[in-house]
């Protein structure tokens, strides 16, 4: 199919389950959608080597289920893991709550068989992770479907921890919860996950079928998960509880059974869905700030929401500083929609000013295209375009995503030529 599209010169967009949150898998009217969900075989599992080879349409959670009998799992766990595909995870370099300890998708992909947009094949990386050349796997992961299609993906599997301890702490304010996050990280403890939800999010979850028993009068809750050897987890659990209390936690609840743990996590993982109760439309934002900036940035975000008279709900990976401020609104109201977009841009500006990034795990896609110049200068954007043309000279794979098009011409001119014509950004 890709060879036919190449011969016809037609643009196309590779798509998995379509759960992405930056519009990366959306196609313009003239593009062909190449849907990969039928390529859903787990090709092989090698428990002793802790590797699995999968096709791109395998659903993330299905892989962990398949390797459970071997005491293994696939660590990156986006909230959409019950639906999203591993091919999409590779394209977006997807994250998830447990990436705090275990790393994101790029840390778990060792080898890719890639179909390039001209219809040729490239074999990148190797099963052990030592490459046959420069790290093209690292370059391909997170390229948002613009370099080609990963036909087979070799992934690292991670042993299931011997012990898991899940704690829920509730706080009067978001600031107090943020300070607890800083205290835990400063103590040198790396929880498996460290997630925060603010009151608007808690109320939405507790009003939904995903109710997890979060206290609805809390300003914020923290979900802290510790895993590893029993002794280490026991010691860290005591230390974390002391830090939570010292930071002003009103109460701490420990999951006592696997079902209890699953319930606590269900509320967190289905929070985006639960927000559907607040309003018909939702802008899910994704930005990263240095962890130490969390308390101030969160207050600024809430102030932005107030100034635009918007309903904001925050649910995010606090341990990574990876924020998801969500704006609930009704897109039928044009004035409200305008204010939502203005607030979204202001939130991004606050995060960038704090030294952060415009996306931690959702990707740029089409949603964040306009924000890219906030963090990259013209030469850096042009270099990305040039790298894209190495993989896809005719620029037909997922056209118009990630890099604003007008930045894609400068590279060809060369810096000296640009300087002579007075147009150099250097």
């Amino acid at each position: 199919m890709i060879r036919v599209l190449a011969a016809e010169g037609l643009p196309w967009v590779a798509r998995g389950a379509g759960t992405g949150l930056s519009g990366g898998a959306l196609a313009e009217a003239d593009s062909i959608l190449v849907v990969l969900t039928r390529m859903n075989r787990i090709v092989s599992v090698h428990p002793a080597r802790r590797r699995a080879v999968v096709e791109p349409g395998v659903v993330n959670a299905r892989l962990s289920e398949a390797v459970l009998p071997f005491g293994l799992h696939y660590a990156p766990d986006p909230s959409s893991q019950s639906a999203c595909t591993l091919g999409g995870n590779v394209a977006e370099n997807a994250g998830g709550p447990h990436c705090l300890k275990y790393g994101v998708t790029t840390n778990h992909v060792v080898e890719l068989e890639v179909l390039l947009p001209d219809g040729s094949i490239a074999r990148l990386g190797s099963p052990h992770g030592e490459g046959w050349g420069p790290d093209l796997v690292g370059l391909f992961v997170g390229s948002e479907g613009m370099f080609g299609i990963a036909l087979t993906i070799t992934l690292r599997l991670t042993p299931l921890p011997a012990e898991i301890r899940t704690l829920l702490a509730d706080f009067e304010t978001v600031r107090a919860a943020s300070e607890a996050v800083s205290a835990i990280i400063a103590a040198g403890i790396v929880p498996a996950a460290l997630e925060m939800m603010d009151q608007a999010c808690i109320v939405a979850v507790e009003s939904s079928i995903y109710a997890a028993g979060y206290p609805v009068d809390a300003g914020a809750v923290l979900l802290v998960e510790l895993d590893g050897g029993a002794a280490a987890v026991g010691a860290e659990s005591i230390a974390v509880q002391a830090l939570l209390m010292a930071s002003g936690a009103r109460s701490i609840r420990a999951a006592s059974t696997p079902d209890d743990r699953a319930r606590l996590w269900q509320g967190r993982k289905k929070a985006f869905g639960a927000m559907g109760r607040i309003a018909p439309d939702l802008v899910v934002q994704d930005a990263v700030v240095p962890r130490s900036a969390l308390p101030d940035v969160l207050e600024q975000i809430l102030a932005i929401g107030r100034s635009h008279r918007l309903t904001l709900a925050n649910v995010f990976h606090a341990g990574d500083g990876n924020l998801h401020p969500n704006i609930c609104y009704d897109s039928r109201d044009p004035d409200l929609t305008r204010r939502v977009h203005q607030a979204a841009r202001e939130i991004m500006a606050v995060c960038v000013a704090a030294g952060g990034s415009i996306t931690g795990e959702h990707g740029v896609g089409s949603d964040k295209l306009d924000y890219m110049p906030m963090i990259f200068d013209a030469d850096s954007l042009a270099a990305m375009c040039a790298v894209r043309r190495v993989f896809d000279p005719s620029q037909r794979a997922n056209p118009g995503k990630v890099i604003p098009l007008h930045h894609c011409n400068e590279w060809r001119r060369g810096p000296l030529a640009a300087a002579r014509s007075g147009g150099s950004p250097r």
Binding site: V104, L124, D135
Partner: protein, 405 residues
């Protein structure tokens, strides 16, 4: 030619930033990314060939070139944010200096590459070399959050960011790790830090190789999570027998429990090293690679390591071997002629094992190349990427070996 280049460089950078190497060739020592870009832009315009140098303690500074570009002047630890677990450093900062500075602030870069503590961060990135800590914390690529790169024609690019999670744009930093400078000069890096562990311990066991590999497998099977686990040949460890070394870090209770598990699950004659001896042991094994003039790494699973060590013994020697029985790589150091290396790369490739030349004198690098035996479709991509980041090219890097008949 050298005189003309010297004059141009002095004019561009100032007298203090230019010197001559032992052969009288110009060496530029810029102290900023802008100055590096100036040198590269000038070299590209004039058609000068440039050799990138760090501190010269790992890769010999012997590539034939019209001038050397040293990263020695890029020697600032720009920022350490212990609470954010991020540091920004210039490429010429040595790993030893950086670790000392981090320790003072309660932070740690979980990286212990082979070589001396004087090795520059830029050298570690360019060669993609990692040590025993890759078992617990991943190789070099997992520690880099972003950075600044200057291309062969003098453009300055920012890649990645300085937060611990970031997917904005393509990850151009990955190309620099193990790129041997073929895709630009890294001038500044944002690195992921960890907290200095509250407790740590090193256990070593000496004995026959197969007993130790068996013990290592038992540790892996028991889901123990050491921060480092490495098998050293007798010559590398400076001992009469093979040595398996395992390090744990974390809380006091966790480390104590891990050690108890090792004694229980992995039968071998374990000795716990006191802290000062543990530090000395890891430092000595890191430096031992320098006893030979060549180092290369092989990608090989634990279940294939015995076979490849035998292959090394047959075609080179078992001299200085350092293998990660829990991970997927093995390093050999020693002396060898190119023809032997070619045979070994060929035999390894037959077993689906890549061989990366990490360090060697220029004649060996030039003839053998850092990489060889690219897999389907990779050669063309690498070649085009190289033209993108270093058109013409400016940098003297033997990414692939010279063609041979």
């Amino acid at each position: 030619m050298s005189e003309a280049i010297l004059m141009r460089l002095r004019h561009a950078l100032g007298e203090a930033a230019v010197e001559q190497d032992r052969e009288g060739r110009p060496r530029a020592i810029p102290d900023s990314a802008e100055a590096v870009a100036q040198v590269c832009g000038l070299a590209h315009e004039q058609g000068w060939r440039v050799r990138i140098e760090g501190h010269g303690t790992w890769m010999p500074t012997d590539a034939p070139a019209d001038l050397a570009l040293s990263t020695r002047g890029l020697s600032r630890v720009v920022d350490v944010a212990p609470a954010d677990r991020v540091a920004t450093v210039e490429a010429g900062v040595s790993i030893g200096v950086l670790q000392r500075e981090l320790t003072a602030q309660g932070a740690w870069l979980a990286l212990d590459p082979p070589g001396r503590p004087e090795r520059s961060i830029g050298s570690i990135v360019a060669t993609g070399t990692a040590g025993p800590l890759r078992h617990g914390f991943g190789p070099m690529r997992d520690h880099i959050l972003g950075g600044t790169i200057v291309t062969g024609d003098g453009r300055t690019i920012k890649a990645g960011g300085h937060v611990v999670k970031n997917v904005a744009g393509y990850d151009l930093t990955k190309l620099q790790v193990g790129g041997f400078g073929a895709f630009g000069v890294v001038t500044q890096l944002h690195l992921r830090l960890r907290a200095t562990p509250a407790a740590s311990a090193t256990l070593v066991a000496r004995g026959e190789r197969d007993v130790l590999t068996h013990a290592a497998r038992a540790l892996v099977d028991q889901r123990l999570a050491p921060s480092a686990m490495e098998l050293f040949s007798p010559a590398l460890a400076g001992e009469a027998e093979w040595v398996l070394a395992v390090a744990f870090s974390g809380t006091d209770a966790g480390v104590a429990d891990d050690i108890a598990q090792v004694y229980l699950d992995a039968p071998a004659s374990w000795t716990r090293l006191p802290p000062d001896r543990a530090t000395a042991f890891w430092n000595a094994t890191a430096r031992a690679a320098l006893s030979g003039e060549i180092s290369f790494r092989l990608g090989v699973f634990a279940d294939g390591q015995d076979e490849i060590i035998d292959l090394l013994a047959e075609h080179l020697d078992t001299g200085l071997v350092s293998a990660g029985p829990g991970g997927g790589s093995l390093r050999w150091s020693g002396d060898a002629v190119v023809e032997k290396l070619r045979i070994l790369r060929h035999l390894a490739a037959e077993r689906e094992i890549p061989l990366t030349l990490e360090r060697a004198p220029w004649p060996v690098r030039h003839a053998f190349g850092h990489y060889g035996a690219y897999r389907e479709g990779v050669g063309a991509l690498v070649s085009k990427l190289r033209s993108t980041f270093d058109p013409d090219p400016t940098f003297a890097v033997a990414l692939e070996g010279a063609k041979h008949g």
